[in-house]
Amino acid sequence: MAKHTHEIRDPIHVFICLSSAEREVLGSRPFQRLRHIHQLALTYLVYPGATHRRFEHSLGVMGLATRVFDVVTLEDNLTGRLRSELSELHENRDYWRKVLRMAALCHDIGHLPFSHAAEKELLPDGWTHERLSAELIRSEEMATAWKHLKIDPEDVVKLALGPKEALKLDLGLEFSPWETILAEIIVGDALGADRMDYLLRDSHHAGVAYGRFDHYRLIDTMRILPGPPSEENDQGGEGLALGVEEGGLQSAEALLLARYFMFSQLYCHPIRRIYDIHLKDFLKGWLPGGMFSTEIEDHLQMTDTEVTVGMRKADRDGGHPAHHHARRIQRREHFKVLYQRNPEDFAVNPEAGQKVYDALSEEFGGEHFRHDRYPQGSGRPDFPVQLANGQIASSQALSQVLDRVPSVSIDYVFADRSTMKSATQWLQEHHDEVIQPQSEEEGDG
């Protein structure tokens, strides 16, 4: 007898199941390409186990998003008011469950080689990996699969991007409250399945325990709730949001703490960061015109494999314009940390790193240094919590932990090894004057 459900083993979620029609999406060229896109770029040069790919992460997001959907749409878990507001759920639950699963599966298919590391400066204006994802979902490559699944690709695009990215990209998409909630299940800032999976998976593969949290408990307590009240005379209830029952608050705290630790210990590790910068420098010198193509066929052809082969060739070719950048990665001759944010300098100037970088570049030449400033955004997202008496409260108001989760903010200046000693010595001599912020009293106003 023909098999209609297929199981895929997964180190995080044990089994992930798909139907035969869903497996067509899995087998498409845009999705299979993700087998060759590292989830964490060149992080494996620092944490050797971190060689996992977007392919398995995307499967994991689909698995988790489905579990969240099944919990939050249970009749017993919907309050009376929400039952009447979410007409799409009652009219077409199976359709939207399928769309949600496919949007979760495809939410990353537009990623460039080596994921985030290469994106910002390597695409034309107005392009991001989210826009490429939308183009791929709408493309002929996937049209047959959508037809067999009987779903509208525009619905998949909406849920895969969410209102935040769709609005930023000005794609002209409008979201109903129901579609907004479904997108939040996948890409939500607070409790999205994307975030849950990458923390668990990156933590597992990198071999660091920081990213773990009790996602079973968290998912069981998730609910669709009215938005949290923001001030005394606000009753809340404007719009809907994904939140938790009071009993799930500790699991949600653990998720946001995991995120803090993973950013501070793994994602913002200085050597990982400088490899990202060297990779960007290499790609600018290696790609035609210094940018990735946004043509669908070119995108499908370009993976980490092509970039790695190009990098190895450029390393061997002393005349290649990107030779030095390739060599830094291939031979582990990366720049080293010369300066990093510290409390004393920070008290004088929160942008001390930029000052140090500018001064060193002027003294020794900009090619010897790189500056990396990253303030983590959306560090403390608010979400509604349903109290035992049915009242809705703000998570930030209820939780003393969430209120205190720090934001990660890094400020590194890196130097090449040949300049490190003289630059360090020069900075020691000029440190105090270099980091001073330029006051308008000095005449630059």
Binding site: P163, K164, L167, K168, T180, G227, P228, P229, S230, E231, E232, N233, D234, E238, G239, F346, A347, N349, P350, E351, P375, Q376, G377, S378, G379, R380, D382, L387, Q391, A393, S394, Q396, A397, L398, Q400, D403, P406, S407, V408, S409, P437, Q438, S439, E440, E441, G445
Partner: protein, 184 residues
Amino acid sequence: MDRLRKAAVITRLAQSLRERGSWCGETHIQKTTYFLQELLGVPLEFQFILYKHGPFSFDLRDELSALQADELLRPEPHPPYGPKIVTTERAEYIQGLYPKTLAKYQEKIDLVTDRLGPADVATLERLATGLYVTRTAEGVEDAATMEARADELHRLKPHISVEEAGEAIREVDELIEQAQAVAC
């Protein structure tokens, strides 16, 4: 405007809101920054889009997080509601570095916070969306009338009645007149 100057302006705006009795949560800073930038032309360079509760900037949300990481702003809990945002001593130190920038924009900050400081989040949503609708309708003859803008505001935010929308558009027009006086 560079980041520290921008930080000086945003933290001064937050201080000014609190001095006028505002709850001063993220929504209050979002909407008043929208007025400061889009109505009064203070070049803060945030990208605003029409989101769940009116004009909203994800860049500004990230910057508010970054200002907290830089210890220039601090959330003050008020259970069971969302936190108020307060400025720190370090914010005053940063403001002290940019007296000319702040002097240049103080009158504009005062106008926005005098008018919007006492407003609750629902009022801020109505007014900010009213300004958004007005700006979108600029130069489009049929869409620029008061009635047409009120209808559009009601269409975008159905929970705002046509009467409330009309009142919001009238208030926005008053603010535009006042803003033109400050700009002169």
